[in-house]
Amino acid sequence: MKDRVRIASGQGFWGDLLTAPVDQVTKGPIDYMMMDYLAEVTMSIMQKQKRKDPRLGYAKDLVELMERILPVCVEKNIRIITNGGGVNPVSCSEAILETGKKLGIKKFKIGVVVGDDILDRIDELRKQGIDLKNMETGESVDTVRERLQSANAYFGAWPVVEALKQGAHMVITGRTTDTGLTLAPMIHEFDWKQDEWDKLAGGTVAGHILECGGQASGGNFSADWKAVPDLAHIGFPIAEAYPNGDIVITKHENTGGLVTVQSVKEQLVYEIGDPRQYITPDCIADFTTIQIEQIGKDRVKVSRVEGRPATEFYKVSMSYLDGYTAFGNLTYSWPDALEKARKADEVLRSRLADLSLKFEEIRTEYLGYNSSHGSIAPELKEANEVVLRVGVRSQDYKAVERFGKEIAPLVLTGPPSVTGFGGGRPKPSEVISYWPALIPKSLVKPEVVIKEIG
């Protein structure tokens, strides 16, 4: 058994810094790299891509990235764990193996975790009496059944552990929790058991710290952002895990950013609910037990995390089509920038009312004044410029499209000294709403499929 495992964070979301995973595998020693690609909306985008072409539906950037880092990962024996497989992890693995062959790699094994996609099973599950009701509102899933775009159970670390046990150099999953991607190699290397709740909770907390990439190592750092060195070359966080569940958060030397108690705390409190019950498929971690201390430069120890048994359910993340939005922006300059923008908004709303279009909401914000803090923002005095931002939402595509045609006319038929209409008419975008539900673990079985070269 190893006495320490180094797990690096490579991506915090689909669209994150492309150089980060390259730096992680080249600038210092690591054993594993985890990459999180999936947000709630992502799965529906991927489903749409897969409907157009059954070979798509995963993070295509992942294939390009692997082309760049595969040789060094093979050479250094760094194993990659990612949920970038989206709604088509098998095709994703095939594309990466194709790339590997082109690069002349002779031996490479990918473990693909499947079984999380339950979109085709909804009717069957409903017949079995599984209600899949909305966890937040209690509504029946039948109200959105016809509009469902994606439905995935969140798996945890264990299917990834199974893939690692089968010797996978890379594990590609669909909807696996971000924390599970980090926890899995610890379970695998230290042979943690399914009921060692404190250790599992420790690894889960490490996963929470890594899951947003640079946010733990100096990015979006409110405590003292001016003091963060070399943000341009920020080093993403690395979790050094120990068999007893202790974790040291660090980063490679000679990279930018910082790892301090404050930077790690900011990530610990990010997007959490009740801190005593951080619920994952693997355990319930109690964030009020976490002990944290600086033990060296860019080294923060996280220890003594307590955990409790996992629940009998997987969370299910579903998405459904919920209308359309569009946004129009116009910039008004001094003198009276804000007054002009307000007048333009009034004119626009009056014209929309004349057209009798049906909107669920029309929202006006003024960038440079109140779009961040709403009513908390102090009244603006003598701004040199203000951007009027109007958004609309409707179930009626045509209403939203027509709104897009009412923005440009304001330039010649509204208040003066206005600019910033360069991008053409605002186009309607689909609203994808999110439907969280629960499903008994016994009804969804993760499976590992092995795909390999050699």
């Binding site: 709630e40 909306v41 937040e136 946010q215 979006n220 409110s222 405590a223 003292d224 404050q262 705390k265 900011e266 990530q267 610990l268 409190v269 990010y270 997007e271 959490i272 609910g273 009740d274 801190p275 005593r276 964030f287 009020t288 037990t289 976490i290 002990q291 944290i292 919920d322 209308g323 939005t325 946004f327 909401e361 029309i362 929202r363 914000e365 960038l367 779009s371 961040s372 803090h373 709403g374 009513s375 908390i376 931002r389 958004g391 609309v392 939402r393 975008s429 689909e430 609203v431 994808i432 709403s433 999110y434 969280p436």
Partner: protein
């Protein structure tokens, strides 16, 4: 004395659907009892009047010198539905740091 939270705290905010979370962290150990005493859910609710349309819940993490606030119904529907520029509540931690509290204790900033 009057204290602005920015001077004794840092923080980070984000979203879960239409609920915003704000983690408020004391800069020094001795500031934690101050924020625990004065930055109540009620005070935060009234600070975010017109923004947090639902209730505000507070959780304590004394081990991290931190409070976690959940602001329900605060993001205009959340996700891709929201028409807000800040649909994910990323700037709400800064909005909370603007808050001033009147305290009877003397503290050194």
């Amino acid at each position: 004395m009057k204290v602005r939270l920015l001077d004794i705290c840092h923080g980070r905010s984000g979203d879960k659907g239409d609920t915003a979370n704000i983690g408020l962290i004391a800069r020094k150990k001795e500031f934690y009892p101050i924020i625990e005493k004065y930055v109540t859910a009620e005070k935060v609710q009234s600070h975010f009047e017109g923004i947090a349309l639902g209730k505000v819940e507070r959780y304590e993490l004394p081990n991290l010198w931190a409070l976690n606030f959940l602001l329900h119904n605060a993001l205009g529907g959340g996700g891709t539905k929201s028409l807000k520029n800040d649909a994910q509540g990323k700037t709400l931690a800064a909005a909370l740091l603007k808050m001033e509290i009147e305290i009877v204790e003397r503290i050194e900033l």
